[in-house]
Symmetry: C2
Subunit: 222 residues, 2 copies
DNA sequence: TGTCAATAGATTTTCGAATATTTTGAATCA
DNA sequence: TGATTCAAAATATTCGAAAATCTATTGACA
């Protein structure tokens, strides 16, 4: 009946999304009973999913006292953005050095999806749209996918998740409307031209711009 | 993280050590029943520990088919060493730029322990001695501890664990006797002199030398 | 009034059994 | 012989309840 997907795996994905999307707030207690009801499963899958998320930094565990949604702070946001910049810098340079035509094609494709999704919903706050988020994630993944380093890609992926939570937790300031499509297109162009220094610089500015925007609303910052 | 208290935490640490030290071989199946007996606990703590280790890359999970000790390969060893070099490079530079006298003192202290442990057991293959391994680990941790980036330190720690497993899995080639103490002392000296370029270079060579030695015995390499 | 101890209640953690899935191997058919 | 089906054995997964631990509250005592 339950084809191939285990309850534990399902809960893991749902719970991660609930945390990354900010539906569960930082510091909030995650009682087993509550989660059992929320996801309609027993205690074992819930605990196993929580253990995995703890290892990914989205959940905190205090032994014999239970789980909480991981706290956030201005310091961690800064650390996260700085580290992400470094990691993506390395991966991007390697991609530009090693990536073949397959990497290029995939990147162009991802850019197309992103641009399309941006156009369709340009009246709404499109950077909250679920589709747009998925395409955005895919673009950044495709950008560095040619680096030939699974370990680096795995690290990047996790940092991206952690960062996305900060975006979700911020109440869309929308100070000055950014032209996301142009930003991404510029990074892609530099990458395809094998101009590593420019691509890395643009990517760094891209991350910094997002971090700066979040800095404005010191909601959870302690 | 008080990992000693709950059974799950205890199993997690024991199992991780058994894998990192090579007592459980790559690819080996990890049946719940076997592990229950091995660690004298029930199924829940075992599965929870395995989930955490899966997230750390030491265990592989195939849904509904169970767990295995993560496979090893020459490609992953190369990827691991390269990534570790990059990550430690970043952290080391930040440490040298930001580290205060506390960082310096801790580093000197760690070096002293390492040198002492090396001297005491210089007749034996001391780089397999449990104490020596702990001091070695602590030295490398202390070296970058001043970087003021918890996220970077966490990543470095995990990569170090993964790398240590490759060392444990290799049958002590001992080709040319290395002067480990001198190598570490040189890295420390450059760091304390705030000579980032030299420190990073020496650290890179330190990692490369270890990786090269392991390359010789293509035991598990597929 | 303030501190401490004891207890009851709430929650986490763990176990053993029940359920679901995969693997094995024998029997059947082409 | 080789492929296929089907049951049973092995194994992984999940559940519900028991055990262990933490938290809150009450009452005794200084």
């Amino acid at each position: 009946m339950n084809l191939q997907i285990t309850r534990n795996g399902t809960v893991f994905m749902q719970l991660r999304e609930d945390i990354v999307m900010g539906r569960l707030r930082p510091g909030e207690r995650l009682r087993t009973e509550t989660l059992r009801q929320r996801y309609a499963v027993g205690g074992s899958p819930v605990r196993e999913a929580l253990m995995r998320l703890e290892s990914e930094g989205l959940v905190e565990l205090e032994e014999n006292k239970g789980f909480r949604v991981a706290a956030v702070s201005q310091e961690q946001l800064d650390d996260l953005s700085a580290t992400r910049t470094e990691i993506e810098g390395i991966a991007l340079r390697k991609s530009i050095a090693l990536g073949g035509v397959e990497w290029e094609a995939n990147l162009v494709s991802a850019m197309h999806f992103l641009a399309s999704a941006s156009r369709e919903s340009d009246h709404a706050p499109y950077d909250r749209n679920a589709d747009w988020l998925a395409y955005h994630r895919e673009f950044h993944r495709a950008l560095v996918a040619g680096c030939n380093s699974p370990i680096l890609l795995d690290i990047r992926e996790r940092l991206f998740d952690l960062g996305e939570r900060y975006v979700a937790l911020s109440i869309s300031t929308k100070g000055e409307a950014r032209d996301h499509v142009a930003e991404h297109r510029a990074i892609m162009a530099a990458a395809l031209e094998r101009d590593a220094d420019t691509a890395v610089r643009l990517n760094r500015e891209h991350i910094e711009r997002t971090t700066e925007k979040l800095k404005l609303l010191g909601d959870f910052a302690h």
